[in-house]
Symmetry: D2
Subunit: 347 residues, 4 copies
């Protein structure tokens, strides 16, 4: 089969690779029908996230079940499924707590510690608890946004940040995950969503996705003005693939009100300074987190009712043989790309 | 009257000062019957916490109501009351949320931005919502531990840290507030409380107060051994008056398991490094906080039933005219002092 | 002044009454500019809720502060205020917990145990914690909906019921409070809101207010169809002034899924049967509750941003001297009245 | 093998039955080493809980894994395991939410809808998520209390009831499950536990298990006296095998304070009256629930540290061939039996 293979920092190749095989009776083999590229893949290529050379990248897919291990209960060949970015064994203490991202035998392994989804076929471990049937009437592309992007903004940003009706939410970083958080924050009806970024294109996108304020400069003054001088109820630090994690985090902390919550979302590749000498009295809560994708059923329901528009994240379409072009477009900020999708049907 | 007056970094004086007067009809004047010294007072004297010279220090007292403003509903002259370290107006958004520590017109003001309790008399603003009637049958001294010490360990440590039955709790820093946290953590029946400090005397005290493990070295190895390699469910960073905030915090973060909670308690006077590059995937929660003293009624009930022994914190007794000696003893680590109490009855 | 006076079951009179006076220094006297009639007032007139004859009815008002007790901090004569239906002392254990409805010295007292708002002037006790400044730019009428109607649906229905994104919410009873719950449930983005009533006019209103399903019959079949046979995530029992409390509650319990929540909202005047022999294994949660109006600041913010349209509840406008007509219209189902407002400006 | 077989209301027989076989590759066959009888088994025999004649009873066991299905990951023959009363598939929406008791393919099935544990061998479905390894150094008997008894009191009583430090907890019904709730309530340090029963032997047991008040009469007066007239923070309705569910529930509701919580625990075989006309304003929360046994790991840890003494529940010991005697003793109130254990080692 064809696959996108990581070859060490800065290098990748799209080429032939052996077909995956079932190695555990909880596995399924999925034929990939649609796949996307994540900002994390770019971090891997930059060397920020260590991955062994030779690994097939990719941790998001919609596809068709091709082969099923004997222990799999809920899937049959031919089923159309979403492959979650997170593989959960379903039995460890973290899985039993709903924290699939921390699964002791799984977690984020696809395209990281085992071969991933940017290929014609992928082996998916713990298939019963790591895939979701795709309802009829929905396109591969929109459901694909549930593999990682939408749950990450929702779980790690909005839920961890505890957004509530009437809140003022600051979103520092308006890349794709920032836009995902802006999208799902609206499920809780904040009074204001303030997007902060240094790219005009991203700020424009933030407005289209639902931020009512989108600014480059003086975020503290703007937020204070909206909150009677107090600060944001919730501040999200989402550096995205553009990097700048420490500055992003430190700004988010400054923007939060006393009693506020700061949620860090996505890759933060460097240590940051936490000004405890300023914050020790301020009752703040800071969270970090890997997505669990436990919210996929909820978000899928909201896509079905039209309350979330997943398609709007998709700016570029490619065939499954166009990985080089797709990576190139996704990596170039100037392309305006949010999410690129590579589909079998586009070939 | 006599009062202990801050005179700038490193300097204080116990001398005559004018009697306080009611300035707002929600005020009461309390005659101080028992007062203590807090680690925060030492931080003020070191210059870590800015206070205007001339200020009477002290934010904890048990006393007798001497005079009552016209707007006060719940108190009469002669009432024996606990004066909370936190003054809550009762009407601002934070007070209505139970976050008295963040009160927009009050908070920690006694001995900080207004004159405090280390004197014969003290003016207590917002008296209806900032004092508590002392039940009969309890000594001034034990109730005095509710003004700040016990609620701080409980609210900012145990409640913010979300201690649950069966948890492994790491307490980094076993000064008085650390011992307070060890005391109240037991209300939630953790399976293990591990105290970490570099003073043998404090480690010995930690054991007496309920830690089942008390160590100087290799805390990570010890905690991992207790938790199947995962880390503590809850880690408390309590540098106390001994300082060392950044190291204390950074150790607490390292000790926490994935999905764990780190609560910072008490004065953290310097910025710390937060290793987001290690923690971004680990689902941790970090909290900071000033005490609200909202737990005083609960803790008072548990003192009444004997489930909390407040007296054990008190190692030294002085008269109200012995501030110099009391400060001296409290500040000297070698004294073994936990809490010193200065009482009118000891004069 | 003029006032609407309860004279025993079935009888009321609009006539002269003495002006109210300040009796406690936390009181204010408010000149009533706009007032409404609540379903609870009809329950009083029916004799369902005991009230002493001679009482001035009414527990909702927007008005102008006329006189201020000496202990009042936050208000001055001339301030335009919303008078909450709930008077909270701000200092008792329930008020300190945010449960103003259970206030030991207050709670729902206006138009119940003390004279109320259906008059030219009203004495408002505990004014600092029982009134809210009205922001500029908003009409008396829309803000008036915050005195009771909107917080009741939100707090006692939506918050107690724990509505979450993607939920299926059943609202049994689509009178004004039911419509209030339908309005505020949308703040949490449920996937479906199913209104159940036996009045076509109310079902039509429910659809206009945001229910996507509005039915008279077979609610269990409809709900099961929407939920894969499980039942509603949240079921609200809101009999309203139309009565039928037991049947309403028992239906709500039947509609809830295992693990679901049933919130009872508003007056339930009779005992109901709880089928524990069916429910003991089903992990349900049932709540009752009086409104606290603690959500007024949040809901006010959402009216200001346009996320809640309070005006749509108001179907009829009267002058402050037209109580007889207003009561008549409000009590007649055929009138299609949701909320009637009596305003000084309409005189 | 030998097995205890239900033969219709009032009838059971201990006799030969075919050995169980693996029918799904997630099954294990467990050789039963210790088993107990639950009050629910008596309810089945009374006809309160419908079970098909011919069914082997029993839903609690400690045993040794004898045979393992091919899909089982975590168990091997020879492993010593606790068999939970609840079988959770681990993949349905309820299992993913930790509500194993509501599992769509499992739940309480052992000794109910499939053959149970009162036999030499038992087939355990979904074994990876329905059994727990028994740590060395603990007796079969004490671990057996974790199959149902201890988690039921803890999860359905103490956790659903939200017991907090300082609370006053009323336990209506002091049978074995009531004693379990009394035991685990102490993990949260309530100020008072008041046991109410009409058997002196049970009241005496309640005191020994940790209730500080144990009464037959005037519970409302006693509770009000302890709570300043308000009522219990938490009231548990635990009719147990003695029945009387409606009276038990209705008393629990009366005992709860405004804002209090009432948790129903165990079989409630009849409908009860809920006095909504009294309770609609009182902010109460009522819960029902089947145990999930999700707390087994926590409770096991607390048995290991000695914080829970599981052995004290066991009053009578039998061999595995003495079911008739064991049932007889357990059913006779006069026997003073709490839990009877039948062990292979006693044969």
């Amino acid at each position: 089969m064809r696959a996108l293979i990581y070859q060490g920092p800065g290098r990748k190749a799209f080429r032939e690779a052996p077909d995956p095989e079932i190695t555990d009776d909880g596995d399924v083999i999925v034929r990939v029908d649609a796949v996307t590229i994540c900002g994390t893949d770019l971090h891997i290529l930059k060397g920020d996230v260590p991955v062994a050379p030779g690994r097939i990248l990719g941790h998001e897919a919609v596809g068709t079940v091709d082969e099923v291990g004997e222990g799999v209960r809920r899937l049959r060949p031919g089923d159309r499924v979403l492959v979650s970015s997170i593989s959960g064994c379903g039995t460890c203490r973290f899985c039993r707590d709903g924290r699939y991202g921390q699964c002791l035998g799984g977690g984020w392994i696809l395209g990281h510690t085992i071969d991933g989804t940017q290929a014609d076929y992928v082996r998916v471990p713990f298939a019963d608890t790591s895939t979701y049937r795709v309802p009829d009437g929905f396109s591969d592309e929109e459901i694909l946004m549930l593999a990682d992007l939408l749950p990450t903004g929702y779980e790690v940003g909005v839920l961890a940040g505890g957004v509530r009706p009437g809140d003022v939410v600051a979103v520092v970083g308006a890349g794709p995950i920032g836009l995902s958080a802006i999208t799902s924050a609206q499920l809780y009806s904040p009074s204001h969503i303030v997007a902060i970024d240094n790219s005009d294109a991203r700020l424009e996108a933030a407005k289209q996705f639902g931020a009512d304020v989108a600014i480059r400069q003086d975020p503290l003054a703007v937020i204070k003005d909206l909150t009677g001088g107090l600060g944001a109820d919730v501040a999200l630090s989402i550096p995205g693939e553009a990097g700048g994690g420490p500055a992003c985090f430190e700004l988010a902390v400054r923007l939060a009100r006393p009693g506020g919550r700061i949620a860090t979302v996505g890759v933060h590749g460097e240590a940051a300074t936490l000004h405890l000498e300023e914050q020790w009295t301020r009752d703040i809560t800071i969270t970090t987190g890997l997505v669990d994708t436990s919210s996929i059923p909820t978000l899928m329901r909201l896509i079905m009712t039209g309350q979330i528009d997943a398609k709007r994240f998709i700016t570029h379409h490619f065939g499954l043989d166009e990985f080089d072009e797709a990576y190139d477009v996704f990596a170039r900020a100037a392309s305006g790309a949010l999410k690129v999708v590579l589909s079998r049907s586009k070939e």
